[in-house]
């Protein structure tokens, strides 16, 4: 397929027929979404990491994200997604330049995007449930709420989880876009 497509593309030297035969093209949209994912993961990690707060009650007791394994997992997952989004943005940009690789790249991207969606959604769920527990507490198990004491820490965690949720939705949209363009590029 590629061996046939390559000289043809070189001979015509116009990308319009190549993308026309391949169906709809959403790679520009893809690149924008990947950049949004990068911004969201960077913001989520930074806001979570800068949420340290020390309260004097009367001894100084700090609250940090690394005291809870759930938040550590959240930071790790979003660091990975930040790195992943940089790499795949470059891949996506290179696909715009070489249209004959597009279908193959789309398959790879949908595969890894699905894995990333799983990681990010679970990280958001984990951190969200811990944040909710910190906000409301649970009287059945005698876990008291802590957000009345550590207000700045809780604000940071809340914002971080909200941004993380946005990032997960962006990955979901990425899968939708890839799936849609794969469907449209297969002739029935």
């Amino acid at each position: 397929m590629a061996s046939i497509g390559d000289p043809e593309y070189k001979a015509s030297s116009t990308p319009v027929p190549a993308s026309g035969s391949g169906g709809a093209d959403y790679f520009k949209f893809d690149v924008i979404l990947r950049f949004l994912l990068f911004a969201a993961s960077l913001a989520a990690v930074l806001v979570m990491v800068t949420g340290n707060q020390t309260e004097y009650l009367p001894l100084p007791i700090p609250a940090k994200f690394r005291y809870s394994p759930a938040f550590v997992y959240f930071v790790a997952a979003f660091s990975v997604s930040g790195l992943y989004s940089i790499i795949t943005t470059l891949v996506s940009l290179s696909a715009i330049r070489k249209p004959n690789l597009k279908t193959k790249l789309l398959l790879q991207l949908i595969f890894w995007d699905a894995v990333m969606l799983g990681i990010l959604a679970s990280a958001t769920g984990t951190a969200g449930s811990m944040a909710y527990l910190g906000l409301k507490g649970n009287k059945h198990t005698n876990w008291n709420k802590i957000c009345n004491i550590y207000d700045k820490f809780c604000r940071h965690v809340g914002v971080s989880v909200a941004v993380g949720l946005f990032g997960s939705i962006v990955v979901l949209l990425l899968i939708w876009v890839s799936a849609y363009s794969i469907h449209s590029r297969v002739p029935k």
């Binding site: 769920g125 910190g134 997960s168």
Partner: protein
């Protein structure tokens, strides 16, 4: 050239029927796994008699304490996510059985919804597992004590349910990947 195209067509049909069978089997797996996960956690209830000492002069009072799944909001979310995924798996199984790959619109819609289910199930699992880890180990920094040393059976059943549901969400992940592979 004609023979080649015929061969190609034949292999394509065989491949798509195999993929269709895989698709149906995976959907059935997802349906069963999420249903079992919901069943295991909903039937989970443990009552224990815990001695509580009010003051040093009095003997400790024996008070029965019950652990139920709906005491924790994360578990409620987890159950709701699993029920939605189970209902969707049933619906999509019936659609796949009736439709095959005839309607292009339905296939597209199912791909999108599969990806949504992956997100929903994984977030539910993450929420339930975070609470599970907290219950198992506690958190000394905010004085949240562990509860699994008292409610051992309850904790084990929650862990089993989480494991089954995690397998279910992996099946949905495979379904999304299969959608990609089918188009090659």
């Amino acid at each position: 050239m004609e023979v080649q195209s015929k061969e190609l067509k034949g292999s394509g049909v065989a491949k798509s029927s195999l993929e269709g069978k895989c698709n149906l089997l995976l959907r059935l797996c997802a349906l069963v796994l999420t249903l079992v996960a919901v069943g295991v956690i909903v039937s989970d209830k443990q009552t224990k008699v815990v001695p509580i000492r009010i003051s040093d002069s009095l003997p400790p009072l024996d008070i029965p304490v019950t652990a139920k799944w709906h005491y924790m909001s994360a578990y409620v979310y987890y159950v709701v996510a699993n029920v939605i995924a189970c209902a969707y798996a049933t619906l999509s199984f019936i659609i796949a059985l009736a439709n095959g790959h005839k309607s292009k619109l339905l296939v597209r819609l199912i791909t999108l919804l599969d990806a949504t289910m992956v997100a929903l199930l994984f977030s539910g699992n993450g929420a339930a597992l975070a609470i599970g880890v907290l219950a198992k180990h506690g958190n000394s920094h905010v004085l949240w004590n562990k509860v699994c040393n008292v409610f051992d059976k309850f904790c084990n059943q929650v862990a089993a349910s989480c494991l089954i549901s995690l397998l279910g969400s992996l099946v949905f992940l495979l379904l999304v990947m299969l959608h990609g592979l089918r188009r090659t």
